[in-house]
Symmetry: C2
Subunit: 204 residues, 2 copies
DNA sequence: TTTTGATTTAACCAACTGGTCAAAAATAAA
DNA sequence: TTTATTTTTGACCAGTTGGTTAAATCAAAA
C-alpha cells in the first residue's frame, strides 16, 4: 500500500466533503457531489468511508475540534483582559468571515443531532471552566462588574457569530445587497465588538 | 366548494408544513411527513401546493413576515429607550424559547437561498430605517454614545438569537445536559441581555 | 333526484440516492 | 517476472422521494 497515494486520496476526500457538507449540510449534501469535488469515483468514496454518516461524523468532529481548542490557547495567555478579548474577537471573526457557511453548518447540525455533539464535546475534553475562572478572577480583582461569566462568554460568541450567520439578511437590509459594504461592516466589528463588550463589563 | 372544509385542510397543511420544515429544513423535510402530520394523503398535499418548493416558500414567507413586523410596533411606542429595549428583548427571547428551531431554520434557509430572502424582504416593506433613526435620535440627545446604529441592532439580535440557536452546545458545555438549568439560564437572559446592552451604550 | 364541480384517495411512476460488486488497474512483495 | 494486495472504476441495485393520474367521494346547485 502506498501511503502517499492513500493519504492524498483520503485528504482530497476530506477536503471535498468538508466543502460540500459545510455548504449544504448533512441532508443537502450528495455523495456524488463530494466524489465529483474530490475528483474520484463514488465507489471509491464508499471504499474510504463506508457510509455517508461515517463521513459526515468525521467531518463534523474535525471541523468542531479545529475551532475551539485553537481559541483556548489565546485565553491562556498572560495578557490583560482587553488585549485577550481583542485578539479573540478579531481572530474569530476573521476565521468566520473566511468560512461564512461555518456558523449555520455547526448550528444546524448541532440541533439536528445533539447526542453526537455531546459525544464530541466529551471526547475532545473541551470545557469552558478555564474561561469562566478567568472572568471570575477579574471580578474578584474588581476589574469587571459582577455577573454570570457564562453570559459574558455567550455574549462574545453571539456578537461574533450571529452577524456572519445572518450575513444575507444584513447585506440586504442594511446595505441594499452591496456585499463590499457588508464586508466592511464585519471588518469594523473586529474592533467595535470588543469595545461594546468592554464598555459593558469594565468598571471605570 | 365548501370554504370551511377547504380553509380547514389548507390550514392543517400549513401548520404541519411549518412544524416539519422548521425542524428539518427544506432538504430534510419529507412531503410524506408533512402529509402524515396534517393527517391527509400525500396527493392531497400536492393538490393544494403543487410542489415542495411552492409549499416551502409559502411557509418561509409566512414565518419570516410573522416575526419582524410584530416587533416593529414595539419600537414605535413612545416609551423611554430602556423600556423599549427591555420589552423587545423579553418578547423576542420568549418567542424563540417557544420555537427553539426557528433561529437555525431561518439562518440556514436564508443562506441556502439569499435571492428568495431578498424578494421577501423587498415585498414585505420591512426596513430598519425606523430603528436606526430612533438610535440616532438618542445619540443626538446625548443619551447613548455615538456608534453605528446598525451595530446596536445587530448586537441586540445576536445576543437574543444566538443563545437559542446554540442551545444544545450551551446545555452540554455549561449545564452538563441539564435542560432545566439551560432554560433557567435563558430565562435570566431576558433581563441580563438588556442590562448588558444598556451598560454598553448608555452615557452615565 | 340528478348533475356539476370541488375534494380526497389509492396506486403508480420516473428520477434520484446511498450503497454494492466484480473486475480492472496499479502497486508492492516474492 | 510472477504473485499477492491494495486502489480505482463502471455497472448495477434496492429503497426513497417528489410528483401524477384516474377513479371515488362529497357537497351543493338545478
Amino acid at each position: 500500500m502506498n501511503d502517499l497515494k492513500k493519504d492524498n486520496t483520503e485528504e482530497k476526500i476530506l477536503n471535498a466533503a468538508q466543502n460540500v457538507f459545510i455548504e449544504k449540510g448533512m441532508d443537502g449534501a450528495r455523495m456524488q457531489a463530494i466524489a465529483d469535488e474530490a475528483g474520484i469515483n463514488k465507489a471509491l468514496l464508499h471504499y474510504y468511508f463506508r457510509t455517508k454518516e461515517k463521513l459526515f461524523n468525521a467531518i463534523f468532529t474535525k471541523v468542531f475540534s479545529q475551532i475551539f481548542p485553537n481559541l483556548m490557547t489565546m485565553v491562556r495567555s498572560e495578557r490583560p483582559l482587553e488585549e485577550k478579548l481583542g485578539m479573540f474577537v478579531e481572530t474569530y471573526i476573521d476565521l468566520l468571515q473566511k468560512n461564512p457557511f461555518l456558523p449555520t453548518f455547526i448550528l444546524k447540525e448541532m440541533n439536528r443531532n445533539p447526542d453526537f455533539l455531546a459525544k464530541i464535546i466529551k471526547g475532545s475534553g473541551v470545557n469552558p471552566t478555564e474561561v469562566i475562572a478567568m472572568f471570575e478572577k477579574e471580578m474578584d480583582a474588581g476589574k469587571i462588574r459582577r455577573m454570570d461569566p457564562r453570559d459574558i462568554l455567550v455574549n462574545i460568541l453571539g456578537l461574533s457569530i450571529f452577524p456572519i450567520a445572518a450575513g444575507p439578511l444584513i447585506t440586504i437590509m442594511f446595505f441594499e445587497n452591496d456585499k463590499a459594504a457588508y464586508k466592511a461592516f464585519i471588518e469594523r466589528r473586529k474592533k467595535t465588538v470588543t469595545e461594546f463588550v468592554l464598555n459593558s463589563i469594565l468598571i471605570k
